[in-house]
Amino acid sequence: AQSVSQHNHHVILSEAASLELGCNYSYGGTVNLFWYVQYPGQHLQLLLKYFSGDPLVKGIKGFEAEFIKSKFSFNLRKPSVQWSDTAEYFCAVITISSGSARQLTFGSGTQLTVLP
């Protein structure tokens, strides 16, 4: 079964700092990759996704992520964070195989705190 690792459990940054959150998955086949964000007290919202094509994908609110197949990674980046980016971020993977339900496997999440 596939697994998703988010190595940073809690990241604390000052406003305007650059952000990179790590995500690694364990599956050798075709994958669809997602980053979700959960603001305090809210539900998960889709930040960005990668299915195929350009491995650098851009999402909402200035976020981007790069798929590096050789490293099984899909790291999330933002050049300059804002206080409003304080949230929990989840990486998720769907493995693409015939005949199976497309179930997401989530990482355990990274709590980002941005200090004003």
């Binding site: 998960l44 299915f51 989840f90 989530f106 355990s108």
Partner: protein, 111 residues
């Protein structure tokens, strides 16, 4: 378009009681899911349904049951609640690409 709605928003429940969490979507998605979210554990899949009339077990199905009588509704039932089922429960549905969309959640406390 509401997307996914869940009810109740929150609930405090005595141990041993039966409880049904409701989930309704208006996106005509075939697949639906129930997750529980616990601190430090991320989201864990409880049950899923690929289409109306079918259901399957996820990672943590024990103590929960689901039904899928139609496309829009996917209720989750706790037959006899226990304190370890205290959690935040999220319902989701997915489009054909597998992208999942989440409801606002139900915060359940079992005493």
């Amino acid at each position: 378009i509401a997307g996914i709605t869940q009810a109740p928003t929150s609930q405090i429940l005595a141990a041993g009681r039966r409880m049904t969490l409701r989930c309704t979507q208006d996106m005509r998605h075939n697949a639906m899911y129930w997750y529980r979210q616990d601190l430090g554990l991320g989201l864990r899949l409880i049950h899923y349904s690929n289409t109306a009339g079918t259901t399957g077990k996820g990672e943590v199905p024990d103590g929960y049951s689901v039904s899928r009588a139609n496309t829009d509704d996917f209720p989750l039932t706790l037959a006899s609640a226990v304190p370890s089922q205290t959690s935040v429960y999220f319902c989701a549905s997915s489009d054909l690409s597998g992208t999942q969309y989440f409801g606002p959640g139900t915060r359940l406390t079992v005493l």
